[in-house]
């Protein structure tokens, strides 16, 4: 049953199985295990970012596409829901309309970007996606009448989703279902072709595969899932703004999560997102406690001052990339 759910994607390591099971169980029972709204916020953000990072892994890890437009699609999802729910009568119809419109826009944009840009060299494709994403960010800021500009949009959500527990389980359930769907994609014959393209595009062509078509489909699939992740995040926050979806810093975070978890593994998205989001939210608090406990010692309280949390986050990333060059999942699979 579990093997079928995971589309036969073997974990390949007991430690990895244990870690993934712990994360999934923690997320599934988060409202009951971790008290407080902040903990639930962190759990919901982990769910959304698992999905977002997994969809990016489909591009980067499985197909070898370096795109900087992923946050744009994340933003389109968020703004689609936000605009619909703030302009239409609050309800399921508005939610569906906003989500579908966002999906349609993302599909059109990702198809066009893929069709016109995936024939060029990887570095040019990366630059084109960066330019398009920057343009979209400026556009969202300039069209303040529609998007709320720099302030973003705050909106109400359907009655049924107003209790935090209901909203959380919608986010968790949707993220889980979409993650399993992505696992199905990468373990299908289509996924195998993507892997072959990542390894050597010319060899894949010599076997008869039109690589541009496969890369474009992967680009569209990744964009659609990122859009749904954006819609879920907006629903959870009841707010969408440039800082929560379109910011280039989020793109960097996604890249780091993929690298830390392990590229081309899907499970790496779960571990990468969980570690990153938890560190982002709790490292500062942990350092504050550490700094206070070291009071009186020379230099150390200053070194671990909570204001320096970003510095230590950076150190953690450097160490993780140094010690886990294949990502945590790759490393765990290697040692069995």
């Amino acid at each position: 049953m579990i093997t079928t759910l995971l589309s036969g994607d073997r974990m390949g390591s007991r430690a990895l199985t244990a870690i993934l099971a712990a994360i999934v169980l923690a997320l599934a029972f988060a409202p009951f295990i971790f008290p407080g709204t902040r903990a639930l916020d962190v759990a919901a953000k982990v769910c959304v970012f698992v999905l977002l990072v997994a969809s990016y892994d489909l591009l980067l890890g499985y197909t070898g596409i370096v795109s900087f437009a992923h946050t744009m699609f994340f933003g389109i999802g968020g703004y689609g829901v936000a605009i619909a729910l703030s302009r239409m009568e609050v309800g399921w119809a508005a939610l569906a309309a906003g989500t579908l419109a966002a999906l349609a826009l993302s599909l059109a944009l990702s198809f066009l970007i893929g069709l016109f840009s995936l024939r060029v060299k990887a570095i040019f494709f990366a630059m084109i996606t960066l330019a398009v994403a920057s343009f979209f960010q400026i556009l969202a800021s300039q069209l303040s009448g529609l998007t709320g500009g720099e302030d973003g949009l705050t909106f109400r959500i359907p009655e049924l989703l107003r209790p935090r527990l209901a909203a959380y389980y919608l986010v968790f359930g949707a993220a889980l279902a979409l993650f399993l769907a992505l696992l199905r994609v990468v373990n299908s014959p289509f996924g195998r072709v993507l892997l072959s393209i990542r390894e050597n595009e010319f060899r894949a062509e010599a076997l008869g595969y039109r690589t541009v078509v496969y890369r474009t489909i992967a680009n569209c699939l990744g964009a659609l899932v990122a859009t749904l992740a954006g819609a879920l995040y907006a629903l959870w926050l009841r707010y969408t703004g440039p800082n929560t979806t379109l910011d280039f810093a989020i793109m960097i975070d996604i890249l780091l999560m993929v690298v830390i978890g392990g590229m081309g593994t899907m499970y790496g998205a779960v571990i990468g997102a969980a570690i990153f989001v938890v560190a982002q939210n709790y490292l500062q608090a942990g350092m504050k406690a550490l700094s206070e406990s070291l009071k009186g010692a020379p230099l150390l309280p200053e070194l671990f001052h909570p204001d320096r949390w970003l510095l230590w986050l950076g150190v953690l990333f450097v160490l993780s990339v140094y010690y886990f060059p294949r990502g945590i999942v790759g490393q765990l699979r290697a040692v069995r």
Binding site: P189, E199, F202, A206, L207
Partner: protein, 241 residues
């Protein structure tokens, strides 16, 4: 001589500023194994890659099975029944042996009887079925590359130096496997530097020099004529072993 399955007429290929193929005329008879011989840099690999569309012919024409394929792209050419085994073996190292073969099976699931036929030639493929191809030895990788090309019946196999860098015992296995494969009447165009392999397997031969085919004929005739070998290849084929 049987009717040709593949014909190249006056094919020119440029790679960047370099004019590599300078009017190649070549025919691969149906159901035969044609050896493409020549010194290093004569244009043998470029000829194979031009047939498959990996390099575009700048002039001339390539006809396959009665149709002009000169302007088709690589996937369209491959879909017409041409398989390519490149010099570098061209396997997907990150995928298992099984997955490598699945990738090449375009007509549906792998057929058991076809697999058994392949395992008879190359037993390590069965043994290392679920192992990543990157973990195989050089000879096994070559076996996988060839297995992938024949996992479904193809009209034409383009094979580039299959014995290059392999141990003599493995070369013997490969020669035996190709001899078996020839019985299936598959048309093969093979680049080969190992004379023993070329002499054992070749039905017809084309010798290239400086981007042109300078000799065509029966392999047995060339193998028997040491003076011709010296003239065409610079030294006796025996010295290539």
């Amino acid at each position: 001589m049987p009717e040709p399955l593949l014909t190249l007429s006056g094919v020119h290929t440029h790679i960047g500023h370099y004019h590599i193929l300078q009017g190649v005329d070549l025919a691969a008879p149906r159901g035969e194994l044609t050896m493409l011989l020549g010194r290093n840099g004569a244009g043998k690999t470029t000829t194979l890659r031009t047939i498959l569309g990996l390099w575009r012919a700048s002039a001339g024409g390539v006809r396959f099975d009665g149709q002009d394929i000169t302007r088709l792209d690589t996937p369209a050419i491959a879909a017409r029944g041409i398989a390519y085994v490149p010099e570098s073996m061209g396997i997907f190292a990150g995928l298992t042996v099984h997955e490598n073969l699945l990738l090449a099976a375009r007509e549906g699931p792998l057929r058991d009887e076809r697999l058994e036929w392949i395992f008879r030639f190359f037993p390590p493929m069965k043994k290392f079925w679920d192992l990543p191809a990157g973990n195989l030895s050089g000879g096994q990788k070559q076996m996988l590359a060839i297995s992938r090309a024949i996992v479904e019946p193809r009209k034409l196999l383009l094979i580039d130096e299959p014995t290059k860098g392999l141990a003599p015992a493995i070369i013997q296995n490969l020669i035996a496997a190709f001899a078996e494969l020839k019985k299936s009447q598959t048309t093969i165009l093979m680049v080969e530097q190992n004379f023993h392999a070329a002499r054992s397997l070749g039905d017809s031969v084309a010798v290239m020099d400086a981007g042109r085919v300078v000799h065509t004929g029966r392999m047995a005739d060339l193998a028997a004529d040491e003076a011709l070998q010296t003239k065409l290849l610079g030294l006796s084929l025996e010295a290539h072993q």
